[in-house]
């Protein structure tokens, strides 16, 4: 039979025409481009509706062309021809500033409107005190039996966080009852700015191999954060928000750029690009303001980002939905990360290869493909109907979304753990380490970037989900940010859905909906870019 078909092929060989191959090739290319082009057209359409670039003055375009577009293009082209690595560095700094601005804006929302800084500080202290006690205890590891240490650890954390109701206040309660406290921006500057300053200081101490340089850098970072907050009091911007943004975006970006300037002599020219982009846009904005040229009448503006829903599309905003999405993501990450990574470690490192594990394996892969509406129904059935929780709260929404992405987190964490070379484990065992020590000291640190990348991508999926939130009864319209786990929550995609379906006026459809879509996509792109940068960085290192 084999010889038969061989001769067939040989006979047919002479009749093969090149056209078929060419057509096939272009058909494949068409298939590749079809989805991308369709999506691109849709996005351009939506972005055009949301930002309305054609409504800007010609002068506005001219100013920004001269101050921003032309210099950026020139510097970019020069770098591209001479030094591609420098170009990459410059782009990374610009991207880092954009992404950290977005995320620190989110953190600022949390501190300004959701958890007051004093409350966060009180819990930070409440966690820090027992943590210090535990660290102290490990110093005397040999003197205390293991079970006693475990029990003491548990007890210290419990006493510190919860106290004994009626007899003894927990540390957070005590801190919150102190009669005189620093103002909110001082707390943020010291705690948030302090942590960033320590990190920045250590970074500089390491690259300069000089403790003094680290201290100077750390103090400068703290001072910059404080200065930003103080400037807020004169310009009327909320100082707490400014302190968060300075500590979360400006200081780290500046530190990274500074560090690169000191260590990467070949590529430091790339920072010119960042300077041109940032300087050009600032100068452009200043000139436009002075000359009075009107920019595009974008629906994605400050008002849209900071106000809540309104009956008229012009005044409608996304703020409660943005805050809701942030809280949901925090809840989802807090629930799905330990569960998912725990399951992945068990399955990769501990589980025996038998029928039961293979059964679980197949099920997890299948669960990752289950439609989100089914998870919504699951959340509704388990949390609302069975456990009797109120509908549409942060906790229920977060738990449902966490269930939804749990299989994805498990699968990507397993991939990351599996990619840790077997040799490293063997070496660890060879040095007499136990399996637990190997997992803790070798496998998890090595797999961590991969796990983080997978988790961020999974969170990116969760932030765009609408169906589960509709199923668990999240409200269509909400005017305030949720302040606790049991308050009702809205989310960005849900708000977009509500605008597109419940409000009949054409205005909502052509203004609020595209603006919401643009914001949602921007957040999603920022999350994905963080994941991609992390992955590339650690791939090139290993």
């Amino acid at each position: 039979m084999a010889t038969q078909s061989d001769t067939d092929q040989i006979q047919g060989f002479g009749q093969v025409s090149r056209t078929t191959g060419v057509i096939f090739r272009y058909l494949l290319m068409g298939a590749t481009m079809f989805g991308i082009v369709t999506l691109a057209i849709l996005l351009v359409y939506v972005a055009n509706d949301a930002i309305q670039p054609l409504t800007a003055d010609a002068g506005w375009y001219l100013v920004f062309f001269v101050t921003f577009v032309a210099p950026t293009t020139l510097v970019g082209a020069y770098l591209y021809r001479t030094n591609v690595d420098a170009l990459k560095l410059g782009l990374l700094v610009v991207g880092m500033l954009a992404v950290t601005l977005m995320f620190s804006g989110g953190v600022a929302i949390v501190f300004v409107d959701i958890v007051p800084p004093l409350v966060s500080l009180s819990y930070a202290i409440g966690l820090l005190v027992p943590f210090a006690a535990v660290v102290l205890m490990t110093k005397y590891e040999d003197a205390i039996p293991f079970t006693a240490r475990v029990a003491a650890t548990g007890a210290i954390f419990f006493l510190s966080l919860f106290g004994i109701p009626g007899y003894y206040h927990s540390i957070p309660e005590m801190v919150q009852k102190i009669p005189v406290v620093p103002t909110e921006w001082v707390i943020i500057t010291l705690v948030f700015g302090g942590v960033v300053a320590v990190v920045v200081g250590q970074y500089f101490a390491r690259i300069r191999e000089n403790t003094r340089a680290g201290v100077v850098a750390g103090v400068a970072a703290l001072a910059a954060t404080g200065a930003a907050a103080v400037s807020g009091m004169f310009t009327g911007v909320n100082p707490t928000a400014l302190a968060v943004v300075a500590a979360g975006a400006f200081v780290p970006t500046a530190a990274y750029a500074g560090g690169a300037a000191l260590t990467r002599e070949e590529e430091r020219i790339g920072l010119l690009l960042a300077a041109v982009v940032i300087g050009g846009s600032l100068v452009g904005a200043g000139i436009v303001d002075v000359l009075g040229f009107a920019g595009p009448q974008s629906w994605v503006d400050w008002q849209f980002l900071t106000s809540s829903h309104s009956g008229t599309a012009e005044n409608a905003g996304l703020y409660p939905a943005i805050g809701g999405s942030i809280l949901l993501m925090v809840t989802v990450a807090a629930l799905s990360f330990p569960l998912g990574v725990g399951a992945a470690v068990y399955l990769e490192e501990y589980a025996p290869d038998n029928v039961f594990t293979r059964f679980i394996d197949v099920n997890i892969s299948n669960l990752a493909g289950v439609p989100s509406v089914v998870y919504g129904l699951l959340g509704l059935g388990v949390f609302v109907t069975y456990l009797g929780q109120p509908t549409g709260t942060v906790l229920i929404g977060g738990a449902t979304l966490a269930l939804l992405i749990l299989p994805i987190v498990i699968i990507s964490s397993r991939e990351a753990i599996r990619s840790v070379p077997q040799d490293m484990r063997q070496a660890s065992y060879g040095m007499g380490a136990t399996r637990w020590q190997t997992v803790k000291n070798v496998v998890l640190p090595e797999a961590f970037p991969g796990i983080l990348t997978g988790t961020i991508l999974a969170l990116g999926r969760a932030i765009g989900e609408t169906a589960p939130l509709i199923m668990i009864g999240a409200p269509n319209v909400l005017f305030n940010l949720p302040t606790e786990l049991s308050s009702k929550v809205s989310a960005m995609p849900l708000q977009v859905y509500a605008w597109s379906s419940l409000f009949a006026s054409e205005d909502f459809y052509t203004k609020a909906v595209p603006a919401g879509v643009v914001v949602l996509l921007a957040v999603l792109l920022a999350m994905n870019s963080v994941a991609i940068v992390l992955r590339n960085k650690f791939e090139s290192e290993s």
Partner: protein, 349 residues
């Protein structure tokens, strides 16, 4: 890095940090008043445009959960938006579930404080609420003209439709598939029907007013949706479509679809409008809209204040008619509702 330099680093840091704390402690301290009130004053301190609330009164705070009719949803949203501006501590959230869906799944189980309805509450719903110790208080909030819409290109219906014709089209009894089945002069084209789901009060009211509670009931082979926008889009997209919804959604889309004049009890074809609904000329499809606060929730001050606020503004032409598109209450009706509400609030306390 050796642990020695690490120690030096952290010790220095500690000194610097503690001196900074000391300086800041002198410079930036404030009296702590957030211990008792759960941080209620952290939010609306900036942006000095919202100081309209009375100075003497204590600031209200708390959550108000509202579900129910999609017809009343825009009105509730408009009221909540205004109330929110004056009382930033009150957190109102509104969900559109349909009148029946809201009663059965949210209000009577005790999950929501208000349920909007575009028809009066049913006996079985009252029973369900009573089982959970929820007492609904019926408050009329506006009058709606339930509107039948057809495509803009539809010219064959002429003057309008009679109640009998509507009954023929929407009843399960004959369930005509083409327009010519209803009237032999009309084209032999398939009827595409759009309407709200059976969770909707609009659906219930349509049955009551047109099809009749007895008999075969509403036909089920139609495109049912709780999103009124979908009904407008469906009818806009097909020349031989027909559908019905609340007047507010039609009034936002007068260019996209046309409203069908319906023959009233005097034999005149009347177009739905705020005027004809108010005068009673547009019948039998003009109907009252309600909201049902739970008497138990009215014991909480912020819920009671919001209910009063809604009733006090229920005569506002600006909100109810111009912004949302329903007929506001008359002064007598408003007084009646306020009395009823105040009695309920008193009883709740």
């Amino acid at each position: 890095m050796t642990s020695n330099t690490d120690d030096v680093l952290s010790r220095r840091k500690f000194l610097i940090a503690s001196s900074a704390v000391g300086v800041a402690g002198l410079a930036g301290c404030t009296e702590n008043n957030s211990g008792g009130s759960e941080g209620g004053d952290s939010g609306g301190s900036e942006g000095g445009d919202s100081d309209s609330s009375g100075d003497g009164s204590e600031e209200l705070s708390g959550a108000i959960d509202i579900a129910g009719s999609s017809t009343v949803f825009p009105l509730a949203t408009a009221m909540a938006e205004r109330f929110q501006k004056e009382n930033s501590g009150v957190n109102i959230n509104i969900q559109s579930t349909g009148s029946g869906g809201g009663f059965a799944n949210y209000f009577c189980p005790g999950d929501t404080d208000f349920n909007n309805a575009s028809r009066p509450i049913k006996g079985e719903e009252e029973d369900q609420c009573a089982n959970n110790d929820i007492t609904p208080v019926e408050l009329k909030v506006a009058t709606d003209a339930l509107t039948v819409i057809v495509n803009n290109d539809n010219d064959f219906i002429g003057e309008g439709l009679t109640v009998e014709q509507l009954q023929t089209i929407f009843s399960a009894e004959e369930a005509p598939t083409t327009w010519s089945d209803v009237n032999s002069e009309w084209p032999d084209e398939e009827i595409e029907i759009f309407g709200p789901t059976d969770a909707s009060g609009t659906y219930d009211y349509f049955i009551e007013a047109i099809i009749g509670e007895e008999g075969p009931g509403h036909r089920q082979d139609y495109s049912a949706t709780e999103q009124d926008r979908t009904i407008v889009q469906g009818v806009e997209g097909s020349e031989y479509a027909i559908g019905y919804l609340g007047f507010a959604y039609y009034s936002e889309n007068t260019d996209s679809v046309q409203a069908v004049p319906v023959e009233n009890d005097e034999g005149n074809y009347v177009e739905p409008s705020l005027d004809t609904a108010l005068s009673g000329e547009y019948n039998p499809l003009s109907r009252p809209l309600f909201t049902y606060p739970a008497q138990e929730s009215l014991a909480e001050e912020h819920v009671a204040t919001f209910a009063r606020y809604w009733m006090e503004n229920s005569t506002s032409k600006e909100i109810v008619a111009d912004e949302v598109g329903y007929v506001p209450l008359g002064d007598d009706e408003q007084q009646e509702m306020l009395d009823k509400l105040n009695a309920a609030i008193e009883e709740a306390n």
